[in-house]
């Protein structure tokens, strides 16, 4: 490699997410996004199990769980209220936490081999066969939703003794030792739906595809869909909550009166531009 080659201006090959134009960033016409209503979420864990079933997540057992090696792409965080910690009279606080599919993902910039990067349909993808296991991405993730295969679960750890492997979803791989993994918004389902739509010469319709977690949720707390489809349920919810994917300070917050609007993004101030909005849980002060 010559020095002139290295010093050439390569900037036009680089793209910054988010740029000025959401459509230019997502040339296929898809930007997958989610809205999670915390007032509907009961913390029941149906989504967590659905994710294990759909995405071939290994069960690691007590010892490895203690070391922080759990592989749950989706988890329910439980918090107590600071004010009434002695008697939690307003209940507990639940947060279904999964990869936020950030538009400016902190994990992407630190990968030395480009194993994690952005797809044209707005996913933060993880290319397993490119991953070398540096785990920088996991360190840099503010949501702590990246999971590393410290072990060879399928073969050496016998995470699936016979005949459990028959349950494995053939639409995606079983990951091996040394690879980082994370929530993919059930990319295998998206891929299938997109191919089908492409064959028909159209875009995927709202409700045609959903993630395993959204599908199972007993209260319908999770809404998934294409943000670029103005008629999709998820796009309507984002609009209703005055949430803009590409803003790091939302207009509603700038106006200073977010009354009646429950939408927010977790750790928004970090400017990762997550693709998931949460709707604040509601508690009746009169009760």
């Amino acid at each position: 490699m010559s020095i002139t080659y290295m010093l050439r201006d390569w900037t036009h090959y680089r793209s910054t997410h988010p740029s000025a134009d959401i459509n230019k960033d997502h040339p296929e016409g898809y930007k997958w996004a989610m809205a999670i209503d915390l007032d509907a979420c009961t913390g029941c864990n149906a989504c967590v199990v659905a994710c294990y079933a759909e995405n071939n997540l290994p069960v690691v057992g007590k010892e490895k769980f203690a070391h922080g090696f759990a592989m749950h792409w989706m988890r329910i965080e439980r918090y107590w209220n600071d004010e009434d910690i002695e008697t939690p009279q307003h209940g507990a606080q639940f947060m279904p936490m999964l990869c936020q599919q950030c538009e400016a993902a902190p994990c992407e910039t630190v990968c030395p081999v480009g194993a994690t990067n952005h797809t044209p349909d707005g996913l933060n993808s993880q290319v397993y066969n490119r991953c070398i296991g540096s785990r920088y991405c996991s360190v840099n993730c503010p949501y702590k939703v990246r999971y590393f295969n410290f072990y060879n679960y399928p073969e050496q750890e016998h995470a699936w003794p016979d005949p459990l492997p028959m349950q494995l979803n053939p639409d995606l791989t079983v990951r091996t030792k040394g690879v980082m993994e994370k929530c993919t918004f059930c990319v295998q389902r998206l891929y299938e739906a997109k191919s089908k739509a492409r064959t028909d010469g159209r875009l995927v319709k709202d409700g045609e595809v959903t993630t395993a977690c959204a599908q199972s949720c007993p209260t319908g707390a999770i809404t998934f869909g294409n943000l670029l489809d103005p008629y999709s349920k998820v796009a309507k919810m984002w609009r209703q909550q005055r949430m803009d994917l590409y803003k790091d300070v939302q207009d509603k917050d700038r106006d200073g009166n977010p009354e009646n609007i429950r939408g927010y993004r977790v750790l928004e101030e970090l400017r990762a531009y997550p693709s998931i909005i949460y709707l604040e849980r509601v508690r009746d002060a009169q009760a």
């Binding site: 203690a66 606080q93 002060a285 009760a287």
Partner: protein
């Protein structure tokens, strides 16, 4: 060798044309036309993980079932809980029994099905009342066959046992409302006050109630956002979602309910809803008196009262933590009385449709059945015992000494999927098909939308075709041993179900004229709606309700804590402990995995010098267990909670040796009116053993510090009065 040689070689194999030998080639699967390799297809079936009876769609690819989803045509509205999803792990469980086992020389040895069937015939011959059958709750055609079989032997001993039965609730509902299981309309209530009914996670039909709850919480043009108040000694998942969670002294729920009733009945608007005699009977329960009994201060009482006055219609529910006491039926009646006072009966509580086939109607279990069964064993009344869908050696409290009593029966047969604790005590253990390999019909005990019969059908070939059999099919075969003429027309359970349903197809909504089409549609929808089910009416006349609390002196100071044996939705009565997904999924309230724990209030822990992870001994009069302490603020300070479901001594690699079994601690207390085991009436003492472990949990690493958001905006909360409704765009 040239080209001619190659052709010679081929010819040498015996193939002369492309068609020859075709009869020896068998396709890996012999699929229907609509099966395309690589594309998942969905079959309808019914979830058997709890009594809710949710309809399911199973995704099948290349002959393997992969994933369960909810069926949109059934009351679970296309949704499914975590336990339902984990049904595939029962099916593919590495510890499933694959062959019949017979006790020979003291140990269980493999035997053949022929041998086993011959033994069953021999041991049931002229058995009469020396025969007993113990099963879990049953409905549909399996119930018909089970009852007919017991009858064919001339026995009257069919015991239907459910360790987590809601029998007290059902019997009081029957008395108060006129039906054992009325329909609750959570979605139409403005206020739900639940006395320990964990309807979002473990109570009756959690997925259906969760979907109602989602509507309940949304404001719309005709109603405001619903408010939930939960009153219980230990915070359940439903309590964690309440607008107001009120800890109550265990067992005093009825007194609180009567106090509220009394306060409301001062107002003529409410007094007209109940007879004057009822109003007079609760007069003694004034606020101060109730406060002394329940430990609830007058501010909380007044708030609750104001809510009940303001928000109508409301719905008041009675749950296991109020009912699991010696005076549990009185508590339940006092709580249900509130619905009459508030005028909720007929609005948020309505009559269910009657199941038109009494033989198939659901038979709910209870714990009285376990007592009766145990009594029979103890007095040597049973010679041959069949058990199915139960694990009494694990779930029976220690004081019943069921394990010893079981030895008195000469021949014990267990129909099961695993070699569990009861299998270890049985003489013949017969492996059954998994729920995804078997046929069946189910009528859920709770019927919110008319009457529906849900179908269970195999989603794939048997994993062990020579090893496991269908329980329905076995019952049919056993019936043929005794009544060959009556049953010989059906070669198997499938043909029995098909002919029974097709013959009665006029009972269902819009049946196809053609029998074949009817059956095809039935299987593809997975549900049959009964046409014009009989109406029922609620007989809305509350009687006089008294709550006689045990005298304070009866409380044993040697055992200062009340024990809550809490139910986990992923484990139920312990039958799901062998599902790795359930073990690995963090408990919602504590986030602990792969173990048991004892929840203790931080204040109590501080007083006793207990830190998180200390191994404590929890001892009742009848037993003791040792497990790790977890500081949990959602608890009455004089109560400790140990979750049910763990502590298996057998049952497979994922269950065995994990945690402790609090069933063994339960005191010999029985509910007065029904005779049910009083699960919440056990007193315990706790002591430190000196050992300490790191609690394995998902919530972070700082032991003993209650996890809060540390001031960050992770889970944000908005006050309800700031939320107006959004109309759909």
């Amino acid at each position: 060798m040239g080209w001619s040689g190659a052709s010679l070689t081929v010819a040498g194999c015996g193939f002369t044309s492309i068609e020859s030998g075709v009869e020896t080639v068998e396709s890996y699967v012999q699929p229907q036309d609509f099966v395309v390799p690589g594309i998942g297809i969905y079959y309808a079936t019914t979830c058997t993980q709890c009594g809710g009876g949710c309809g399911m769609h199973g995704r099948v690819r290349e002959g393997r079932v992969l994933k369960m989803e909810g069926n949109p045509e059934t009351p679970n509205r296309g949704r499914l809980c975590g336990l339902g999803q984990a049904l595939v792990q029962h099916h593919y469980n590495p510890d499933r029994l694959k062959e019949p086992l017979l006790r020979q020389g003291g140990t269980l040895q493999p035997t053949t099905w022929n041998n086993a069937m011959a033994l069953l015939a021999e041991k049931t011959k002229n058995a009469g009342d020396k025969f007993a059958l113990l099963t879990g709750p049953l409905s549909g055609h399996l119930k018909v066959l089970a009852q007919n079989y017991v009858e064919s032997l001339g026995s009257r001993n069919h015991f239907i046992y459910d360790p987590l039965a809601t029998k007290v609730n059902r019997s009081v509902s029957e008395r108060m409302y006129g039906v054992a299981m009325p329909c609750y309309h959570i979605d139409q209530a403005q206020l739900v006050v639940s006395f320990g009914a964990d309807f979002l996670d473990t109570w009756v039909s959690p997925v259906h109630f969760s979907s109602q709850y989602a509507d309940f919480r949304k404001a719309n043009d005709s109603k405001a956002r619903g408010v939930l108040v939960q009153i219980e000694p230990k915070m359940t998942v439903t309590g964690a979602n309440a607008d107001r969670w009120i800890p109550v002294r265990p067992g005093t729920e009825g007194a609180l309910a009567l106090g509220l009733a009394n306060a409301l009945l001062q107002d003529p608007a409410y007094a007209k809803n109940v007879p004057a005699s009822v109003a007079a009977s609760v007069r003694g329960y004034d606020k101060t008196h109730v406060g002394q009994i329940t430990g609830i201060n007058s501010e909380v009482f007044d708030r609750l009262l104001a809510l009940l006055r303001e928000r109508t219609p409301s719905l008041v529910l009675s749950g296991p933590s109020a009912e699991g006491h010696v005076h549990g039926a009185q508590n339940a009646a006092a709580i249900m009385l509130l619905n009459f006072v508030l005028g909720n009966v007929g609005k948020t509580i309505t009559a269910p449709a009657r199941v038109p086939f009494p033989q198939m109607a659901p038979a709910d279990g209870d714990t009285v059945a376990l007592n009766a069964f145990n009594d029979g064993l103890m007095h040597g009344r049973f010679e041959t015992v069949f058990m199915h869908d139960v694990n009494p050696v694990y779930t029976a409290p220690a004081f019943l000494q069921l394990k010893d009593n079981l030895k008195k029966a000469g021949f014990k047969v267990l129909f099961t999927h695993y070699r569990d604790e009861t299998a270890e005590e049985s003489d013949l253990v017969l492996p059954l098909d998994s729920a995804l390999e078997d046929w069946g019909t189910h009528i859920a005990a709770y019927q919110p939308e008319g009457v529906t019969i849900t179908l269970q059908q195999p989603l794939m070939e048997r994993l062990y075709p020579d090893g496991t059999r269908s329980f329905g099919g076995l019952l049919l075969e056993l019936l043929k041993q005794h009544r060959p003429e009556e049953y010989k027309q059906w070669p198997d359970y499938y043909s029995y179900l098909q002919s029974a349903l097709t013959k009665n197809k006029s009972a269902f909504k819009d049946p196809a004229a053609d029998d074949g089409l009817f059956w095809y549609q039935t299987l593809s929808h997975g549900v049959l709606n009964v046409a014009a089910p009989q109406e029922q009416h609620l007989s809305a006349t509350p009687g006089i309700v008294n709550v006689n609390l045990p005298a304070a002196s009866a409380v044993d100071q040697e055992f200062p804590f009340q024990l809550v044996p809490s139910v986990r939705s992923g484990f139920r009565d312990g039958r799901h402990a062998n599902l790795p997904w359930m073990q690995e999924t963090a408990d919602t309230m504590t986030t602990i995995v792969w173990d048991s724990w004892v929840e203790i209030h931080p204040k109590t822990a501080e007083r006793l010098g207990i830190r998180e992870g200390d191994i404590l001994e929890i001892a009742s009069k009848t037993g003791s267990v040792k497990t790790q302490a977890y500081l949990f603020p959602g608890l009455d300070p004089d109560t400790v909670a140990v979750p049910l479901g763990q502590g298996h001594e057998a049952m497979g690699r994922y269950a065995k040796g994990v945690g402790v079994n609090p069933f063994k601690l339960l005191a010999p207390s029985f509910e007065n009116a029904t005779g049910e085991l009083a699960y919440y009436a056990t007193r315990v003492k706790i002591s430190k053993t000196g050992d300490r472990v790191t609690v394995v949990k998902d919530e972070g690493w700082r032991p003993g510090v209650l996890s809060t958001q540390q001031g960050r905006k992770i889970v944000a909360t908005m006050a309800a009065d700031k939320v107006k409704l959004f109309r759909e765009e």
